[in-house]
Symmetry: D2
Subunit: 382 residues, 4 copies
């Protein structure tokens, strides 16, 4: 029986933020080992990264095409079991498609593709392949977010009326892209990031979180996007009015120029019977307030939680789990599903909960809508 | 030298929420004593309230007209020094006008009047009278709000880019107006409350706080108002996109159906150099984050604060001051100004800081704009 | 029927901290008016204070003896109804005794007297007089402290096992008594403060709070007191091990040299079934954690609270009440009891809850015990 | 150049709490791979655990002796590089000694041994071996704890006067050891845990944290330990008065019967110039208050931190790091030192910061002292 999966990575040369996160998240649960990689579009850099990471040099490649073809040629059991894609947005579609078409399941960073058209095409590729595809909308990996979703689903909040989401960062408050900072450079570049800046990078996380918890789709919105930093070509801030299914309403504030904010993603959801509040920077608490004034503080791993939440905790209560552990929940669930397939076993449905290409498509449609709405300064439908 | 002022109250029969708040706030600093009152439109109820409050029965009146005329007829030194108006919105204009025209300065609850037209007319009355008029937008009375405003004014945040305000309550999440609850009854009644519900009651507080701290006026907005509770005639919830002077942007979420929320007024302001955050339910802290990562927590009465803040604290740090003390700051400043006039003295300019009819007019224009914008589902100018 | 009480104050000349607190606290509920005063041992200063406070000069006295005798000579209805004593510790006993012996009920600041012997004697005086005597251990006036006590009493925590109290301030971290600061001067002076410094001033508050919530008496303790600031003659810091009735245990940390701490009084109580936590600087929350992991956040005025708590709230939930309102609860309850006596009415037992001379005696015995224990570096019984 | 280390584990069969923590912590940074194990004293259970963990069956052993001898016999490069010991306390000394004597560096869970005598003996073994030995006092691995220590060292708090530590858990509030719970069973058993219960398990963490941050040794203490749960043989709660070097004083509250508490380790340190506060359950914040009232909130990875802190952060600010990441800092530093030795390189001194046998000895002496002091109800010297 197979107990560990071999991962091949595209992008994420040493020093890159998100590649390192993926590697650590994949490692935590001991189900995945990094075996191969095409870490950079420069073969030289890729080689150096592989060395730094202690990989067998024969498994370090100069391009993703090379990696996919070469690994495909290896005997089963030796070749990688899936591909992890951690490149900038404009480089998601190509490697995803090639990997899938060569029989490799994929874990891909978000947003799923550069454009909505690519996202639809990718969905078709995935369906044809019949393979697993996970998108790392990691914030839904937190145990208290799973608890929130389960409570809404279970009717504990009653019919949802109102949702307010906020995602504030401050790291782009100055023209950081003029420095050497690689992140800032590609994230503010329409050619690599797509048509949205802050909304592509973090707005889609807020949208995903909101739809995940409420299980309601945004049906219309009215956005006002701004590029506050002079000379910046993509939005670095914006506010959105939202309408959701079944008469719910909401709003969103997104910013990368909110000076001093670290990674302040927050959500408030109000139903007819109760309201809840969760903040990513204190992820192990979930506050729920009831119509009768009872205010309860749910905590990761404490007391009677929904099984969907309890299943995503590793260590005893009060030993704080953080960003990497939430991220790892995607990798772990993906790995459990893939191992089950390989071992011809059933997987506990609780572990099938990870974001897919459909979440990716919602994100792309959301980006289209906010950009469109802001341009015409009025409401648009999704 | 006069050391204490005599107050005559209009409205606020025993049991009313806001009348009691005004009485307590006026009493705290020992500068004002409640001397007369027309506490109800029912003479009988007014009498009972006066008795309960320990007033001389000869100073308890059956109507505000009666009070103003009778007090006017008393010798100076015996008659009341000013009138406090704590009736529902539709009953602000009449008593204010009559009082001013008979030489009585006025403290009036907000919103200033029932309609914008009345607000403009009242301003003319005030100007003709040359008398003091204070509006109890009490949330700007908190020492940490004064600190926030002073910091912005002093350039410590740099040019302001973004403001997010939230004012969530949950007490109208059900159809409370069908019960005996008096507050709920008039606040949801267009004939007594005006054209807005939640936005008239609490939205104007958020607007006032936002303009007070930033010293920027809202120039345009796009609102989406809702009456979530079936059968309710005025908005009980809404979201607004904001544009402010000098290119700043913002958003606002207002609700009285946010189940479980008590009185959750919050504001975040981001400039080019720093950002700040304040929450009414923890009013003695002000968080400021700087571009270089320095995060400072200012506390009521602690360390080097701007004099505008320090002057509005009564007791040593760590002995929490709350809602009544912030409210009392309006009464105290109003009283200091009025006493100075009576005693022919100069007043320290720091005590001239209280909301006036101009704040009231801004509030009415804001109500007009959000209602208008929501009706036509698009942006409107203020 | 009498609706308002006339108060005569001993001490509290303008500028004094605690006198001003007493005046504001007494004023809030409109049941008490300051009518007379002997504000200073200097007749001149007393006069100036009376003027500043807007009192009738004929009611401002040069000494407490003068006030008590002169007021006694006034006709009933005109004379003061009770005396409020806000002098330094060594001046509590004299005025209390004289007032009581002339028929005036007393509200006195804590600690009740300079020495334990005086406290016992005062108790005898009170009993002989048959008059009301309230001691302003104000921290038990908070609604959430009342809730905590009611929950313990009601068995919701089960048998109490452990109590941890902390009262940290930082204002005496330097030798402030060498400056002009009046507070610092008498509080660090054994001739005016008594045998303990920090433990007399704030340690007794922690002791009182602890015994009030748990309804358990301290039976033995082991203390280690320190005067950290060179040249200081009384303790400015200390830690204590505690044993309580019925096998409960505890500890206490008291400090006035905890740099940067404002007025940080906190308590944690653990029973067999639940634990609770309260902090004076965020007084409107009470956290309760149950054996099954349920964690509930009680809030002032929200939901189903014990009547003892609900009766001590003035304004709706979320409009924060603070130090002055908690302090005012003592004055209000004292006033309700005194008014009931004067009007020959029954008082609702819920309003009879205010600290008395017995709390004062406990405090003095506690001071004796900690000083004794620290001197001999071992356990002592109370 | 060697980039990865092979780890052999003693104890930590699947299902054990701390073994799993060690494995995850060791995996995060990609420097260590679990290669061998003697996971249980039952060969059968060890085998099953190895299988579950995906290990090569030939590297799964029935006892630690077997593992150490067999691995020693393997060629270098193939054999394990170090041993990780995660057994109950009474099984720390044996495997540590054997491993060291066969040339394997050791990472060991705390407390270092069952008795103080063993600890001294182990120190001698380590010194003879010349090998690395790390003790997983993991709470000093947090970036904000490193910042706290660096600030104290740098004189930013001035001379330290007072330290208060608290470590409250509630999981042993009932007689859990009567159930199947393995943890509860051995931790409350003097034959496996040693002479202390809560003080051995978590009291030593508090002591270690306190001495680590202040760089001051405890010189004397007075303890009062209790076993609250009827029938329990070791302390489950206690309070301690502390004296430290250079005249500092302190106190400690330790509990495993504090109902509802998760893993609430907190510390407050006050110097002559500033005070600091840190809480393990919100590990990414460090509050520092200065004499002039300036209150600063340091955050993991934000702004100008001491290099000792910055070097122990993995991901950008606001992406919360938790317990596993702090734990991983010990493994990472240990691995960096070991890799440097193997590769004949210098290691950056910043990575040499991990707890050693000396921390272990301090812990054992502390246990001896608290048990002794509590038994004789008086002060004892350390």
């Amino acid at each position: 029986m197979i107990k560990k999966l071999k991962m091949g990575m595209v992008g994420g040369g040493v020093g890159a933020f998100i590649g390192d996160v993926h590697r650590k998240a994949a490692a935590i649960d001991g189900l995945i080992e990094l075996t191969a990689g095409a870490f950079s579009s420069s073969a030289e850099k890729s080689k150096r990264s592989g060395e730094e990471l202690g990989l067998d040099p024969s498994r370090v490649y100069g391009s993703y095409e090379e990696m996919i073809l070469a690994e495909k040629a290896l005997p089963e059991g030796e070749r990688i079991d899936f591909v992890s894609i951690v490149t900038p947005n404009h480089m998601h579609f190509g490697p995803s498609k090639l990997a899938l078409e060569h029989g490799f399941p994929v874990v891909c960073d978000k947003p799923v593709t550069f454009s909505t058209a690519e996202a639809y095409e990718l969905k078709a590729v995935i369906e044809r392949s019949g393979l697993l595809f996970a998108l790392t909308h990691n914030y839904t990996g937190y145990p208290m977010v799973k608890q929130a979703r389960a409570m809404v689903k279970n009717g504990e909040l009653g019919k949802i009326r109102k949702v307010v989401a906020q995602y504030h960062q401050g790291w782009l408050a100055t023209k950081l892209e003029d420095s050497e900072q690689k992140q800032a450079s590609w994230r503010t570049d329409p050619a690599r990031s797509g048509k949205a800046g802050a909304f592509g990078d973090i707005g889609t996380h807020a949208e995903n979180l909101l739809e995940y918890i409420t299980d309601l789709k945004i049906t219309a919105l009215c956005a006002d996007l701004t590029a506050f930093v002079p000379g910046r070509r993509l939005d670095d801030d914006g506010h959105v009015l939202l309408r959701l299914e079944h008469g719910a309403k909401g709003a969103m504030s997104i910013s990368q120029i909110a000076v001093g904010e670290e990674n302040n993603l927050k959500i408030q959801v109000y139903g007819e019977k109760a309201g809840l509040e969760w903040a990513q920077m204190h992820p192990n608490s979930l506050t729920v307030r009831h119509l009768d004034g009872h205010m309860q503080n749910y905590r990761t791993g404490v007391g009677a939680l929904h099984p969907e939440s309890a299943a995503h905790t590793r260590i005893p209560a009060g030993h704080p789990e953080g960003y990497l552990e939430a991220f790892a929940n995607i990798y772990r669930n993906f790995a459990k599903c893939l191992l089950a397939q390989k071992n011809n076993q059933e997987v506990d449905p609780i572990y099938t909960d990870f974001p897919t290409v459909d979440d990716g498509i919602r994100g792309m449609e959301f980006i289209d809508a906010v950009v469109d709405s802001s341009a015409k300064q009025g409401w648009v439908k999704l």
